[in-house]
């Protein structure tokens, strides 16, 4: 599954990325394979997402989230 599939409140562990400029940036901002990411909420119109990564909030679009494969963490 990808990060896009998580619902608000759920977390996932990053497995791998589609390699491109956007995911390069995401990695620099601390989203690496192995990191745990939580979906905090969605924007009022359903996109983008508000994520919690390494203790801070980062917002990305679902289209970008779809390029990140994850495994869901059980609560």
């Amino acid at each position: 599954m990808t990060l896009q599939d998580l619902r608000p409140g759920e977390s996932g562990r990053i497995l791998e990325f589609e390699p491109n400029a956007v995911t390069d940036r995401l990695m620099e901002m601390g989203m690496l394979p192995g990191s745990v990411v939580q979906v905090v909420r969605l924007a009022p119109l359903g996109d983008p997402m508000d994520l919690k990564v390494r203790g801070y909030h980062l917002s990305i679009r679902k289209a970008e989230a779809a390029q990140i494969r994850i495994s869901k963490c059980e609560a």
Binding site: P19, R25, M29, G30, P44, L45, G55
Partner: protein
């Protein structure tokens, strides 16, 4: 004792960590804002208070030194000395509440080989959130001095200053380790690069190699100068890919693998807390309340900007015309005085008059930025912006453009997607700026009948609102078209934005930033408007028309008429040898006949004064009719006729090329109306004007057509000049001017011709 050698220090760090706050603390008001040569990134520098030999440079905020945006490239180039002399010391400002990600760029800076001090900022906020950070552990692990700070309150700034004046040894880089498969290849690539180019310092080779390996942008830099290095790097990438080596994130993973344990050791979480920030977010990005709040903020800001600025603007306007008047009367009459008063002072006044609005707008934008709400507005709006191919990041530049396109275009720098940035710049001038407002006001008040629609909406207010809507909708449309047909290359727009915690804004910081930004606006726009005003003054004053004889003629006529008035009054006298009564009507003359005579004399006097007063206006009007601008208006008339514009409006449009609002004063002169700014007199003159065949020059339809023209046309030299600066070419400003002018022409044509077909007038 000889003065100490000058040294320079650079502040680096993520966006929003308090770099600027710290910079202001370190330098006080000894600041200079310029641009880095050749690019549009601001170079903010100042001298350390109490140590004038130390220059402090505030670099743009960056998440990484690997170039993705222009800002990041500049930060990197400054640090390695490719811009100015390399700094003697780097101060890495990090947010204590978000240490892990902040140390990423710090680890990159440490690899450069300059002395490094880590400024651990915002410890107050971190503590509030239950984080305790042991600076000494951090210091030991990183191997560089770490100074805890609260920049907003100035705590720790003195220690930092002391440390700056007693800098450490250059930081030892590469404490993190690269995965073996990749690091095995680094020496080979380094040798190759060194063999091909010699501009890279030995200490920076490894960094360049890693960047080139991981990033296409960074690799492309060497395509010309080191083709063999590029070929070999590409080969290696392929090889890695086949062996399943994650070359792309080798460096990033290596750094985070080093940083992770360090932060674990240095940071203790005392309590798990849902922060206040999270709770505010639950409200402000709520699916219903969030957008509502955004709308309220938006309307509130506009309301405030427009209504609060008005008194100040009126004051400035009065002051400037009084000043121009004083100059006129103090200096000997002549063309130089006229140029100074009508050209220079009025021209500069045209910019200064917008300062109150600009200041207020910058204040509110600064407030939104400093509290962290700006990022939320991007978060809320991104979905809508995406529909036209932009992202939430364009919200701020486009909003600013409602006040003035110049700050809007400058704000587009924050977009790290170059394609998005260009498109945003290209459409920003379509947002109705405050310079259009006086034009809207005049024509709407004159030609849109006051009344209500469906009993609720005032028609004039509605008309005003449609002007803003038209521009906004067109801006979105243009963005979509530009994206699809003009800026077709480059990455798709994306949205990666940090949502920083909400923070309490600081008045000092806010005011300082507001003033700095406004100054940049005033200086940049001021210079251009000044130049244009001078040119326009010449165009309106030459060729000189001999208006003196015209004036004499008017004065003679006025005198004759007065004489005639008196003669007529005399005929009413009961006895031919009686004297005329006194003019002063406070004296009761008693006799009704005498009272009537007195009234006639007063009328004659009144007419005389009025005629003498208008002589100067008529003179000015004759001058502009015969001037180069009047001539241009007549040349343009056949082209503008299909839009319903006569030569006078055309001349007004020519004069409005430099700045939109100038059309009002030009029309004021043409129609010989004193105090065009007051509006009412000009309004009546416009309504009364007739073509030789008796048709009115201005009908409501003509007014609407003109309004539409103003919504779309790019009549602003300053915008063109700023766009030139920000895109580094004349090409885009030219395209911008062309497309907007064509758009304006076609839109007005459709309005006027369509309206006539429908039988409107």
């Amino acid at each position: 004792m000889s003065p100490p050698d000058p040294i320079s220090i650079a502040l680096v760090g993520n966006p929003n960590v308090g770099k600027t706050t710290l910079f202001n603390r370190l330098t006080g008001l000894n600041q200079r804002i310029a641009n880095f040569p050749g690019v549009t990134v601001e170079r903010k520098s100042g001298t350390l208070t109490g140590a004038p030999h130390v220059e402090v440079i505030d670099l743009p905020g960056t998440y990484s030194l690997t170039p993705k945006s222009l800002d990041e490239r500049i930060a990197y180039e400054v640090l390695v000395g490719r811009r100015d002399k390399a700094p003697d010391l780097a101060v890495c400002v990090v947010d204590a509440g978000n240490l892990e990600r902040n140390l990423y760029v710090a680890s990159q800076v440490m690899d450069i080989g300059v002395p490094v001090i880590v400024a651990l900022n915002m410890i107050d906020a971190a503590e509030e959130n239950g984080l305790v950070i042991d600076a000494s552990v951090l210091e030991a692990e990183l191997g560089v001095p770490v100074i805890p700070l609260v920049a907003t309150r100035g705590e720790g700034v003195d220690q930092l200053k002391k440390q700056i004046l007693d800098p450490p040894e250059p930081a030892q880089g590469y404490r993190w380790s690269l995965m073996d498969a990749v690091s095995a290849k680094v020496p080979e690539l380094s040798r190759q690069l060194t063999a091909e180019v010699d501009e890279v310092q030995p200490g920076h080779i490894q960094m360049e190699v890693l960047r080139a390996l991981a990033e296409d942008n960074a690799l492309d830099v060497w395509r010309g100068s080191a083709p063999e290095f590029v070929r070999r790097t590409e080969e290696l990438r392929k090889e890695f890919a086949e062996r399943g080596v994650a070359w792309r994130h080798a460096e990033v993973s290596g750094r985070y693998a080093w940083i992770g344990p360090i932060t674990n050791k240095a940071v203790r979480r005392e309590r798990e807390s849902t922060t206040v920030s999270d709770r505010i977010d639950a409200l402000l990005t709520h699916s219903i309340f969030g957008p509502l709040f955004f709308l309220v903020i938006l309307i509130g800001v506009f309301q405030a900007v427009f209504s609060w600025a008005t008194p100040a603007m009126d004051l400035i306007e009065t002051g400037i015309s009084a000043f121009a008047g004083t100059v006129q009367s103090v200096f000997p009459p002549g063309w130089a005085t006229d140029l100074l008063a009508d050209g220079v002072i009025t021209g500069v006044g045209n910019v200064v008059v917008f300062l109150p609005q600009i200041l207020l707008l910058f204040f509110f934008l600064g407030l939104m930025e400093d509290t962290g709400y700006m990022a939320r507005s991007a978060f809320i709006m991104d979905r809508i912006m995406k529909r036209v191919g932009l992202s939430g990041g364009s919200v701020l530049p486009l909003l600013s453009s409602y006040a003035c396109a110049i700050p809007g275009i400058m704000a587009a720098r924050t977009l790290d997607n170059e394609r998005d940035r260009l498109i945003t710049i290209m459409v920003a001038p379509l947002m109705s700026c405050s310079a259009r407002l006086p034009v809207y006001t005049l024509f709407i008040a004159a030609f849109i009948p006051a009344g209500t629609l469906m009993g609720v909406f005032g028609t004039q207010g509605l008309a005003m609102f449609s002007m803003y809507m038209m521009g906004t909708v067109m801006a979105f449309g243009a963005a979509a078209v530009l994206k699809r047909f003009v800026f077709t290359k480059g990455p798709e727009s994306y949205f990666v934005m940090e949502l920083p915690p909400y923070r309490r804004p600081r008045a000092r910081q806010l005011l300082l930033r507001m003033i700095q930004r406004s100054k940049v606006f005033a200086v940049r726009a001021g210079k251009i408007i000044l130049a244009c005003s001078i040119v326009l003054w010449f165009l309106a004053s030459y060729p000189a028309v001999d208006t003196d004889s015209l004036r004499m003629q008017i004065e003679m006529q006025a005198a004759e008429q007065r004489e005639a008035g008196y003669a007529e009054a005399e005929t009413l006298l009961p006895a031919p040898d009686m004297a005329l009564p006194a003019l002063d009507d406070s004296l009761d003359v008693g006799d009704p006949v005498m009272a009537q005579i007195q009234a006639m004399m007063q009328q004659a006097e009144y007419n005389y004064t009025a005629a003498m007063d208008s002589a100067q206006l008529v003179q000015q009007s004759a001058q502009i009719r015969g001037s180069a601008i009047g001539y241009m208006g007549r040349i343009l008339e056949p082209v503008m006729q299909p839009l319903g514009f006569d030569w006078k409006i055309s001349a007004g449009l020519v004069s409005a090329f430099a700045a939109r609002e100038v059309i009002i004063s030009t029309l004021g002169i043409i129609y010989s109306v004193a105090d065009a700014e007051e509006g009412v007199a000009l309004r009546d003159a416009l309504k009364a004007d007739r073509y030789p065949d008796g048709r009115p020059v201005f009908t409501p339809l003509v007014a609407v057509s003109l309004l539409v023209f103003f919504v779309f046309a790019l009549q602003c030299m300053s915008t063109l000049a700023i766009a030139r600066r920000e895109t580094n070419t004349w090409r885009w400003p030219l395209v911008m001017w062309l497309y907007m002018t064509i758009l304006a022409y076609i839109a007005s044509l459709l309005v006027y011709q369509g309206g006539q077909l429908l039988g409107l007038s």
